[in-house]
Amino acid sequence: MAGVPLRRREGFRALLWLSPWLVGFGVFFAYPLLATVYFSFFNYDLFSLKFNGLANYRYFMQDERAWLSIRNTAWLVVVMVPAQVLFALGVAQLVTKLKSGVGFFRTLFYLPSLVPVTAGTVAFVFLLNPATGPVNRILSLVGISGPDWFGDKDWSKPGLTLLAMWSVGNIMVIFLAALLDVPRHLYEAAAIDGAGAWRQFRSITLPTIRPVLMFSAVTGVIYTLQYFTQAMIASRVAAGVTDAPGTSFVPGYPEMSTLTLPQWLFQTGFRDYAMGYACVLALVLFAASMAFTLILLRQFRGFEEVAE
C-alpha cells in the first residue's frame, strides 16, 4: 500500500505530529544529558563555573559515602526486587486458585499499591516504630522482641523491603493477567500425563509467563536504581527532620544505612550545591540504568514485530 512518495508524505505529517515531543526530547533529555557530561568536568556551585578536569571523578573514587550509597542501592536490587517479584507471583498464583471471592481479594491485594508513597512510608515508620508501633507490639505477644527497624542500621533496609512488598499490587495484577492467559488445555493434558502441581508450575506456567516475569524483574531493577522517596522520607521521619527551608540534614539515617545513590546525588547537587560533582554521580546512575534499559529494549525488538 505504501509507495515511496506516500511514505515520504507520511513522514512529513508524522514529523508535524511528533514536533512537540521532539522539542521536549531536545530540551529535557538530549541537551541535559550532554550538559551533564560537560558539567562533570567543572566545579560548579550555581554561580561560578571553573574547569577542574578530572578532579570530580578522582573525588568520586575516594568518596566513601558515594560508594556506601552504591552498596545500599545494590542491596535493594539484590534483595528487594526478588522479594517483590516472588511475593507478587505467589500472591497472583494464589488468586488464580481461589474458587470464590476472586474480585474481592484482587482489590484487597491491589489497594495498598495505590496509597501515596509518602503516606505509605510515614505509616510504616509509625507501624514499625519500636516504642509504640503495633508490629513490635504484636511480635511481643508471641514472645518475639522486635528490632528497632528504622532506628537500626541493620533493620532499616529490611523495613523498606516490607514496605515494598506491601505495595506490590501493580506487579501482582500484571502477573495475574499473565497467569490467566496460560491456555487451560495445557494443564489438563499435563494432569492426564500425571504431572503434579509443582511439575505443572515449572513446566507450563513458568515458561509461558517468562517474558512477563523478565519484564517485571528488569523494570523493577530500573525503578530500584532510582529508589529515593521511601528511603528519604523514612530517614527524615525516623530522625525527626523536616523539609523546611534552611534545614540541614544528611540523608541516610540511621548511620547512612538508607542512603541510596539518587539521594546522595540530590544532597551533593541541590543541598550542598556541588553541581559538577553531582553530575559525576548522575553519570554513574545513567550507566547503571542504561545497562538494564538495553536488556529491556532487546525484549521490545521481538515485540515490535508482533505489533506490526
Partner: protein, 296 residues
C-alpha cells in the same frame, strides 16, 4: 452366588468412598487456599486499620503501645486542619495534578497517534527513545534542567514540574501507543478514504475508540502528580507556599511537633481521595495496569 450378591454394593460403596475422599480433598484445598488469602488480606489491610485506629487515639494514649483506642477522637482530623496549612498543600497538589494531567493528555495523544498510525523512517527509533526516556531515572538529567529553571527564576514554584508536561510524557505516550495499536487499521483507513484529514481522524475516529486507554493514562498521571515527592522536594521545598501534600506530610510530625495520632490522621487525609477515586474507577485501573505489563 454370594459373591455376585455382595460385589455390587461393595463397588458402589467404594465409588462413594472415593467420591467422599475427592470431595474432602477438594474442600480441604478450598479451605487452605481461602485461609491463606484471608491471612494475606489481613496483612495487606492491617497497616491501614492500625493507621485509622491510631488516628483517633487521644494524645495520651498515643504515647502507649496499646492497639485499640479507649476513646474515639474524631476531632483529631479537625486538629490537622487547625495545626497545619494542609488546605494550602491540597490546593497546590490539585493545581499540579489537574494541570499536569490535562497538559500530558493534550501533548501525548498526538505523539502516540503518530507512533501508532504513521509509517515513516525512524519510527522505531522514536519509539525506542520514548522507552529510554521512560526508563532513565529523572535524577540523571536533574542538574542541567534545574539550572534552566533557576535561570528563568522559577525554582520555588511548581511550574518546573507542570510546564514540561506540555511537551509530552514518555510513560503516557508509551501506554497510549500500546492502546492505539489495538484499534484495527481498517477504521482509520476507512476515514482516510472518506477524505478525513489526520486531525479529523484523530478527533472523530481514534479518540472515541481510545477512551478507556485515555482514562487509564489520565488516572495514572493524576496519581503520579498527587504522589510525587521528588519533584516538589527539588523545586518547591525552598518555598513553603508551594509545598504539596507529599512534602507537607513528610515533614508533618517534626514540623508541627505533634504525636503519631495527628500524623496518622494527616496520613489518612492524604490517602483518602486516592482510595475513593479507586473504588469508583477500579476497572480502568486494573485494565490500565495490565496494559503496562503485557508486553514481553
Amino acid at each position: 452366588m454370594t459373591a455376585t450378591l455382595v460385589a455390587p454394593p461393595t463397588r458402589a460403596a467404594g465409588r462413594r468412598a472415593r467420591e467422599r475422599r475427592g470431595r474432602t480433598r477438594r474442600m480441604l484445598y478450598w479451605i487452605a487456599t481461602h485461609a491463606t488469602a484471608v491471612a494475606l488480606g489481613i496483612a495487606f489491610i492491617g497497616p491501614l486499620v492500625f493507621v485509622l485506629l491510631t488516628a483517633v487515639m487521644s494524645d495520651n494514649q498515643t504515647l502507649t503501645d496499646e492497639l485499640w483506642p479507649h476513646s474515639w477522637n474524631w476531632g483529631n482530623f479537625g486538629e490537622v486542619f487547625a495545626k497545619s496549612p494542609i488546605l494550602l498543600w491540597l490546593r497546590n497538589t490539585m493545581i499540579y495534578a489537574v494541570a499536569g494531567t490535562l497538559f500530558t493528555l493534550v501533548s501525548s495523544i498526538p505523539v502516540a497517534y503518530a507512533l501508532a498510525r504513521f509509517r515513516f523512517p525512524g519510527r522505531r527509533l522514536a519509539f525506542l527513545l520514548v522507552i529510554t526516556m521512560m526508563m532513565l531515572p529523572p535524577q540523571v538529567v536533574a542538574v542541567p534542567i534545574y539550572l534552566i529553571w533557576a535561570r528563568l527564576d522559577l525554582t520555588g514554584t511548581l511550574l518546573p514540574l507542570i510546564l514540561p508536561m506540555l511537551l509530552g510524557d514518555a510513560f503516557s505516550i508509551f501506554l497510549l501507543r500500546q492502546f492505539l495499536l489495538s484499534i484495527p487499521r481498517e477504521y482509520t483507513d476507512a476515514a482516510r478514504v472518506d477524505g478525513c484529514t489526520d486531525f479529523r481522524t484523530l478527533i472523530r475516529v481514534i479518540l472515541p475508540m481510545a477512551r478507556p486507554g485515555i482514562a487509564a493514562v489520565a488516572l495514572f498521571q493524576f496519581f503520579y502528580c498527587w504522589n510525587d515527592y521528588y519533584g516538589p522536594l527539588l523545586y518547591a521545598a525552598t518555598n513553603v507556599d508551594s509545598w504539596t501534600l507529599s512534602v507537607g506530610l513528610a515533614s508533618f510530625k517534626a514540623l508541627h511537633s505533634v504525636q503519631w495520632n495527628l500524623t496518622m490522621a494527616a496520613t489518612l487525609l492524604v490517602m483518602a481521595p486516592v482510595i475513593i477515586v479507586f473504588f469508583f474507577a477500579q476497572k480502568v485501573f486494573i485494565e490500565g495496569v495490565t496494559l503496562t505489563g503485557v508486553k514481553g
